[in-house]
Symmetry: C2
Subunit: 385 residues, 2 copies
């Protein structure tokens, strides 16, 4: 299709990389114990603070997000202790898998996929399980596009238990507000390849004072994922093991870009991208998987299970147009598709994706009218700008 | 000093990145579950085989090398089992630390730093410890520049025990021969930021059939570092968690470069770099830390503890000339300095480093004659080319 390197990556991560970040990552390699590396590590950690919403020093791991989720488990829990996991999709399931691997006793709070967990439901569940040491929750559930009400869920947890609040924020932090100190989040994890506009390979972990007390006491064996090592080395402006330096070069530039745009404007932009996408999908008469209230600003799921066209055929047609959208995961495979709209994404990317979507739907003989989705999204744009 | 981005990074990793690898890493991001990503993962794993010297499928972890060393421990050993660690420097110590964290009973075979472990010494030690499940050894000990005789050490281990042979090859694989199948290495670990000419962030693990049998049975809890997950996903041409894709773009190009040069020529080049460096140091009348027999082709340690100039002052003078060499680690701090010469390094880099070293030595009033080191290295060059 025209140019091999000119395509639209509209999945919920990895996301496109801004050119200035590409250039930053291509800087010559430096020693990881050099003064330059120390300044880089310290600067990145400091500038992560407002994005996570914490005065504590965020930690930087060279790993994918899953390793950081595991770090939350092995640093705070011991075998046979109890934990609650709010399961709203695939990434809630991942917490369950990790916890069970370490013989933690898991109480699953299963919520229908595509719906957020309400604070009342969590409150009732916590009363049934008074001995839990931690409650694991997903801020944006990537597999469905649901944004859970983390602030309220954290509050309910603290009011009705002594459990730590542990949050997977991989697919939204940097695109949505986060005030971990104020909201009472004890551990907050995110990754580089989503709203941070970087390649995969870095994970960030915010840790509350309360969490540190538990971590210091915890006896579960861990080495690479021992958060104490990252903290003590960060106090010396370095990392315990060789960090992924080129990604740190990129992170510094990403943090500059986010600061330049202003976090409030970054969050507004993502709201706009969500609203345009949802309006566009509705304009084409396709059903959305989540309610407006539960929808994440970073990814939108479209329900295709009752359509008279095939979701995977649509994705194939889009790929031929050089547009990649995500399919469904696990039991949602073939039933939904997902449009990622986080990070280096602007309204014209959404209009372009919607127009490609219209063409692809036409090509597979779906009963839509060209231009209806784009027009609905344009109207949202005009109202907001 | 002249240009800020024009410097000589002569430490034993991270090492300089070739321009074509920088360009490869700057490719636009792709989905990690796309066909392109699958082809990339499969191709990289396949092309790692001759470099590790195995017919088994090498695994690719997104982490620093230390995480892969930990993977060797948690996938093969259980608490209170016994292991031997050959400690020839800092990275032998690291194996000890990881093993002790997981309550493995460690028998340390301490060898004076700067010397390789001889097969006879290991043989005698194994007879004293007949119940060990694994012998951990370091191929190149980065902290001293010693290359241990891995082939012979592996053979002795297999002849005199049933233990697995587990090798840290981080700072030499890709620069020195490795035949893990033929030599009987059961687990071989290396990283991206040394002879592989990439930024840090990837680790590679070769696993023998014999090791897989142990790994399948092992009950130690692990999630991100569970090698079974990497193997089963690699069989489907993918990775269990989002891999560091931009580093994989770079790895593909690195593997092409190594193939183009030819592994035999790559190894010869590193031998030449070692011989030029050692001749240059001798030409200046400075003592080398290791014997010719024990010296690694990737890094050379120079002993400055009896010199009438200060090692750290010399390193500072070199940094002002935009040349970075490594200092000593742990008790060697201030006693030695180390010149890295692996990866994207050619004879003229060594001549340039030696001439800068001569200038820096003059600046700190060391009793050397300008040109003596360079000349000795030039003579080695002329003999070999």
């Amino acid at each position: 299709m025209f140019f091999a390197d000119k395509f639209q990556l509209r999945i919920p991560g990895p996301t496109p990389i801004p050119p200035s970040v590409e250039r930053a990552m291509a800087q010559p390699m430096i020693g990881h114990r050099s003064t330059d590396a120390s300044e880089l590590v310290a600067l990145c950690s400091n500038k992560l603070k407002p994005i996570l919403g914490t005065e504590e020093q965020p930690l930087i791991l060279s790993s994918s997000g899953t390793a950081a989720l595991e770090a939350c488990v092995v640093n705070t829990l011991s075998p046979s202790e109890e934990a609650v996991v709010i399961v709203t999709g695939v990434f809630g399931e991942r917490f369950v898998k990790i916890l069970e691997r370490y013989q933690v006793y898991v109480h699953r709070l299963d919520i229908p996929w595509g719906t957020a967990c309400s604070p009342d439901v969590l409150q009732a569940f916590l009363h049934q399980h008074p001995h839990v040491k931690a409650v694991f929750m997903t801020y944006c559930e990537t597999s469905t596009g649901v944004l859970n009400p983390i602030r309220e869920l954290a509050q309910v947890t603290h009011t009705h238990s002594d459990a730590l609040v542990i949050v997977d924020g991989v697919s939204c932090i940097g695109a949505v507000p986060s005030q971990m100190d104020e909201w009472g989040i004890d551990l907050l994890v995110t990754g580089s390849q989503k709203a941070f506009m970087l390649p995969p390979g870095l994970a960030f972990v915010g840790v509350s004072k309360r969490a540190w007390k538990v971590i210091e006491q915890n006896q579960t064996p861990r080495f690479y994922l021992d958060l104490r090592a990252y903290q003590s080395q960060l106090n010396k402006k370095t990392t315990p093991y060789t960090p992924a330096l080129s990604l740190l070069f990129g992170l510094k530039e990403v943090l500059r870009l986010l600061e330049e745009e202003g976090l409030v404007h970054v969050y507004h932009r993502h709201e706009l991208l969500k609203n345009m996408t949802r309006a566009g999908i509705r304009g084409l008469g396709l059903p959305l998987m989540t309610s407006d209230e539960d929808a994440s600003p970073t990814v939108t799921s479209i329900d295709g299970k009752d359509a008279d066209w095939d979701v995977e055929e649509l994705r194939k047609a889009l790929r031929k147009l050089n547009v990649t959208v995500a399919g469904g995961q696990q039991y949602l495979k073939g039933q939904i598709f997902r449009i990622g709209h986080m990070g280096y994404c602007d309204p014209f990317d959404i209009l372009s994706t919607l127009s490609a979507l219209e063409i692809a739907l036409k090509q597979i003989n779906a009963p839509i009218e060209l231009g209806q989705g784009v027009q609905a999204a344009q109207e949202v744009f005009l109202q907001h700008v």
